[in-house]
């Protein structure tokens, strides 16, 4: 796993969303909203950003009762999140590591 900062994941609420979804296979919209303590519109906005980046899949399974929205990380989203966490850990282990180039592998030969 390459340590790599990811601008899309880095925003605090999106980092929390990714952490919640990486710890599970899928989660319901209302659960994410309650844990994050944000309004529906705020959560929707962040989910849209993650979905547009290809990191998130949204489904609305039909069945009995009210239709609920379920979200899960895609394989690409899991890779991006794992790389971002590795980058955070690398920074903590080596605080002098330059991080002014989001999206650049941390500690790789090509890193500034």
């Amino acid at each position: 796993m390459t340590a790599r900062f990811d601008d899309v994941v880095h925003a605090p609420n999106r980092l929390r969303i990714c952490a919640l979804l990486a710890a599970s296979s899928s989660a319901e919209f209302a659960v994410l909203r309650d844990i994050l303590g944000v309004a529906d519109s705020v959560l929707s906005k962040h989910l849209k950003v993650l979905q547009d980046a290809g990191y998130l899949a949204i489904s609305k399974p039909t069945g009995r009762g009210r239709v609920k929205t379920w979200v899960s990380l895609t394989a690409e989203g899991r890779r991006a999140y794992a790389g971002h966490v590795q980058a955070l850990k690398a920074l903590l282990d080596a605080p002098d590591t330059p991080i002014d180039a989001p999206g650049t592998p941390v500690g790789s030969p090509g890193a500034p």
Binding site: L15, L20, A23, A27, E28, V85, L88, L91
Partner: protein, 147 residues
């Protein structure tokens, strides 16, 4: 920046703990899973072709319905395949159920004995409860253990 990274890692740890808090399995979940496994093994070992097929269909439909009920109640789903190290308990349960199914089929086809099939069904029921609960406990501990 070091403290910023620490803050972000702390946010991640809190999010994982929040998922662990949500994963409270209803008391009836594992007994029903155990009953589904036991019924499946009995159908394979003691039934004719129609009963065997019905057993497989009922097991698949029952497992799907059980998972669906769990998702509705908790709002979170963790597949055994995506559970990391805790997934070994789910794998062990699946492996045991598979082996017991083969043994049950063989006993039913090759002998007239019925009690070994009932013993396998009892073992399947117990495995559904014990290994299922071990999976839950391991998963929650893993989520709370860190990033």
């Amino acid at each position: 920046m070091e403290s910023n990274s620490a803050d972000h890692l702390s946010v991640i740890a809190e999010a994982r703990a929040a998922v662990a808090d949500r994963l409270i399995t209803p008391w009836w979940y594992h007994p029903i899973l155990g009953l589904l496994i036991a019924g499946y093994l009995l159908a394979l070992g003691l039934g004719d072709t129609v009963v065997k097929i019905a057993g497989v269909v009922l097991f698949a439909a029952g497992s799907a319905a059980l998972g669906s009920a769990y998702r509705r109640l908790t709002g979170v789903w963790v597949s055994g395949f995506q559970a990391g190290p805790a997934g070994r308990w789910a794998g062990a349960l699946g492996g045991l159920a598979g082996l017991a199914a083969v043994a049950s089929l063989a006993i039913g086809a090759l002998t007239d004995l019925r009690w070994p099939v009932w013993c396998l069904a009892l073992a399947g029921f117990a495995a559904g409860i014990v290994l299922g609960r071990r999976f839950d406990a391991a998963l929650r501990a893993q989520l709370r253990a860190g990033v």
